[in-house]
Amino acid sequence: MGGLYDEPEEVSEFGFVKTETLTGYGTVYINTSVYANWVYLDFAEAETVTVDMTAGDPEPGQWDMAVHRYDVKTNGGSAAMTSWTDIVKFEDSGDMPDDAAFVSDIMTDDVIAIDMSGMMQGNIVYAEDWYNPELSRWLDVDTSTMPPIYTKSDNVFVLRLPDGRDIAIRLDNYMDGNGTKGYMTIQYKTLTGEVEL
């Protein structure tokens, strides 16, 4: 039955894999499978930087949001979920969530798990770190069963940055071409503010 199947789509390139400079529309593909890592995204420069927390690496000088596994933090920003599931249609609608709907990051010490090796002895190591509960709603991971149940939100989120930029964010996939989880495909569109690219 070999002829029935396709080769897995191998994307060797990580980072901003597709960017349209004029419109600020693009796709980011990042490997977030490692618990110890934050992957920082800089939408202005279209750059990603992976930082190993356990190695004590510093965070980059300029960044907008960061992803750890499926958790998100923002660089002093806030986020809100829209009822739209298509970025282009959302932008065309001009239908921005109320200011009150935007949720800022919170400091946590029981969310960002950096070492799972002791989980079966009831010993998970967490990092003390910022976490944006609103934007993290893009993927619900129910770990009450094994394997966990993943429920992706189709909705478009708005990331509001301190410099006035609004960026529409939508999670397209959380798996690679083989179905391995921990590989995030993120669609984005810079809505307001200067597009430097």
Partner: protein, 717 residues
């Protein structure tokens, strides 16, 4: 005055006719067949109250019976293994003399093959065999083996394991210890130790034979806790076309079509089955609350060619696919291609030899909704060659000998880098079924199995004794006792797994695993008289080196290991009755008790008590028939040790509740070959307070309806 005159004239006229009629005769003729229109040669036809008036059906089932007077009479048709039928015949009209007899569901005249690998009448089978007939299947409303077994066999459960994959639990024995076969052939592929039960659809299945306990002396690895063998129907009709449809809750749809012909030396049958059901929420708290929908397509074709007398060639091909909606972005796909060739040659009247080749390829893939790519991540391919030989030494006994040679290839996402392994297995076996004296039988068997990967081998003996007493008045008794070894060689998966579990821990295989072994002792007594059957059996199973995953502190991971020895003791009691008036019942009860030998906490999943029951009433007329059945099951609650949710080192005691669930079904045969089913499932609206992985998957009372058309029947007289 005028009225009495007319009255007296009428009375005298009637007397004249009556005296003339006293000497007259009339003839009733027709054909006696089974429900499938197969002639019942030798069926007896008698006239109730007229001793000496009777005849016997010929080889085509035809008969002609002369009634010596011109009175209405009741004629009775009977045949061994079938329910007796009676009908009133009258001299003044054309009588319908055709009888289609229903098989006696409690008789033990069915031929079974699983226990000895050679056809044997159930009552004479040295190994206790439970048969689920085609009639049972039709009246169970089941789409696949899973639905059927839970209504027919107490002590069996199908529960959810991880990721809502289905796991069989036969009195504590799981999927890798219960061997499922189709016409004696193994089934490739597994998910969490269980074959794909959706593959085992019941379309075109003649009967299912179940042998509990070890049976490795004939079937080799995996026959530790029992063997379930699905036997395909032979095409006997010159032509047939059957269509069936069923619609139930959660948009559950089932369509089946089969067509067949039998002409001279060639017969062929083709079957198609499509089922689908939507994803739905059970609407309650639990280990699961969404039940994933799926779509199944299954195609089978079977061609039989008998070029010369005594030689039968059978070819078969099959295709199966299932898509499961477990995730919005990735659909789980399961596919299978199977095929087989078999040549069977009758050596005079004393023996037969069989040579067969069978191929089975079972694949799993992920269908990526976003990109449309379908990525293969699991493939199990089995090639098997078998030789089987039977020789009958008159009435003294039968020698059965044979051997298999199999190549087993496995590529899996659970191996490092999605790699593959393969191994050869070879075996030979011999069995002698010896009728020592009338009524006393001794059957002994021995099998040797070899597995190339780690040069593992196993020797599996079996000894069965049976004593039978037959009495016209008292009925038939059969007493059986047996010892059988069961074993299960570690699979390639269990030896070489290297699987990253959600990036949390690894599960590793263990190449040094020993084979799992069971020693089974069974004693049973069976009683059968006309319409009643009672069977009582007790058994004791010693399970050694059971293979399971345990937390390995050194590796900080799960790893396959042999577990502590355990014993399972139990008893089965079955009562069935089917009366000619149309009333029937069947009650089956099972008790199981599993315990560890070293006193370590038991993690047994066997429920101590379980019961299945069916009560039915049916009647049949020329153009209309009905059967109303109420069937149900009861499973007792139990407590067992489970790993605490926080880690794999602490055990906690978990209590699972018992439950009972019932189904009401009305089948109506409204015209030749047309029948309608109406089903009320979960009649008493049982809903679990909490949906455990072993709770019944139900949302309460639901309704379903089905239609069945046997088009060939419509054209037959």
């Amino acid at each position: 005055m005028r009225i009495p005159v007319i009255k007296s004239i009428l009375a005298s006229l009637m007397l004249v006719f009556a005296s003339e009629a006293a000497d007259a005769q009339y003839v009733v003729k027709g054909r006696v067949t089974d429900k499938g229109n197969v002639p019942l040669a030798g069926a007896g036809i008698v006239v109730r109250g007229l001793q000496g008036t009777g005849t016997v059906a010929d080889s085509e089932g035809r008969y002609e019976l002369e009634i010596p007077d011109s009175e209405p009479h009741v004629i009775t048709v009977s045949f061994v293994g079938f329910m007796t039928q009676s009908r009133t015949v009258r001299p003044d009209r054309e009588n319908d003399g055709d009888f289609a007899l229903e098989e006696n569901p409690v008789s033990l005249n069915e031929v079974v093959v699983t226990g000895t690998r050679t056809p044997k009448v159930l009552m004479d089978a040295p190994i206790t065999t439970r048969v689920i007939s085609d009639l049972d299947i039709a009246r169970s409303d089941a789409a696949n083996i899973q639905d059927l077994l839970i209504t027919e066999l107490p002590g069996i459960e199908f529960t959810f394991s991880m990721d809502q994959q289905v796991n069989v639990n036969l009195q504590g024995f799981g999927g890798s210890s219960v061997l499922f076969l189709i016409d004696g052939e193994r089934i490739a592929g597994e998910t969490l130790d269980n074959v794909d039960y959706n593959r085992l659809n019941l379309d075109n299945i003649q009967r299912i034979e179940i042998v509990k306990g070890g049976a490795s002396s004939l079937y080799g690895s995996n026959a530790v806790g029992g063997v379930v063998n699905l036997i395909t129907r032979d095409q006997t009709e010159p032509w047939s076309v059957n269509l069936r449809a069923r619609y139930g809750a959660h948009n559950e749809q089932r369509y089946e079509g089969s067509a067949g012909f039998s002409a001279g030396k060639v017969s062929n049958s083709v079957n198609v089955q499509m089922t689908s059901t939507d994803t739905y929420d059970v609407g309650g708290e639990g280990d699961f609350n969404t039940v994933y929908g799926n779509r199944v397509l299954s195609l089978k074709d079977r061609l039989v060619y008998a070029p010369v007398e005594g030689l039968k060639l059978t070819g078969r091909i099959g295709y199966y696919q299932r898509e499961r909606d477990a995730d919005a972005l990735v659909k789980d796909r399961y596919r299978d291609v199977s095929g087989g060739l078999k040549a069977r040659y009758e050596i005079g009247g004393d023996g037969d030899a069989e040579l067969s080749y069978s191929y089975d390829e079972y694949n799993k893939s992920d269908f990526m909704v976003n990109t449309g790519s379908d990525v293969l991540n699991y493939s199990n391919v089995q090639h098997n060659i078998r030789a089987l030989f039977n020789w009958h030494f008159g009435k003294t006994g039968t020698l059965t000998a044979g051997g298999d040679f199999m190549n087993d290839y496995l590529k899996s996402y659970q191996f490092e880098d999605g790699g593959s392994y393969s191994q050869m297995t070879a075996d030979c076996f011999a069995q002698f079924d010896w009728n020592v004296v009338k009524g006393f039988n001794v059957t002994g068997a021995l099998r040797y199995d070899y597995f190339s990967e780690k040069s593992l081998h196993s020797v599996s003996p079996m000894l069965g004794l049976m004593y039978r007493i037959d009495s016209e008045k008292a009925g038939h008794f059969a007493f059986r006792g047996s010892y059988a070894k069961g074993f299960r060689a570690p699979t390639l998966k269990e030896m070489y797994m290297s699987f990253d579990m959600a990036s949390i821990f690894m599960i590793y295989g263990n190449p040094d695993l020993l084979s799992e072994v069971s020693h089974n002792f069974t004693l049973s007594a069976e009683y059968f008289k006309k319409y009643f059957n009672v069977t009582v059996s007790g058994y004791f199973n010693m399970v050694r080196n059971g293979i399971t995953t345990v937390w390995n502190q050194e590796l900080n991971s799960m790893r396959y290991a042999n577990e502590a020895p355990s014993n399972i003791a139990g008893a089965d009691v079955t009562f069935s009755m089917h009366l000619p008036c149309g009333f029937g019942t069947r009650l089956a009860y099972t008790f199981s008790h599993e315990y560890t030998v070293d006193g370590s906490p038991s993690m047994s999943t066997a429920r101590p008590h379980s019961l299945t029951a069916r009560v039915e009433y049916g009647r049949e007329w020329k153009r209309y028939g009905f059967n109303l059945s109420l069937s149900g099951r009861y499973l007792s609650g139990f407590s067992t040790h489970v790993y605490a949710s926080t880690d794999f080192e602490t055990l906690t005691l978990q209590k699972y509740p018992g439950y009972t669930i019932w189904k009401l079904m009305l089948t109506q045969d409204i015209w030749k070959g047309i029948s309608i089913n109406m089903i009320v499932d979960n009649l008493f609206n049982y809903r679990p307070d909490y949906y455990y992985s072993n709770s019944p998957v139900t949302v309460g009372t639901t309704f379903a309806a089905g239609l069945s058309l046997a088009i060939g029947e419509m054209f037959r007289k």
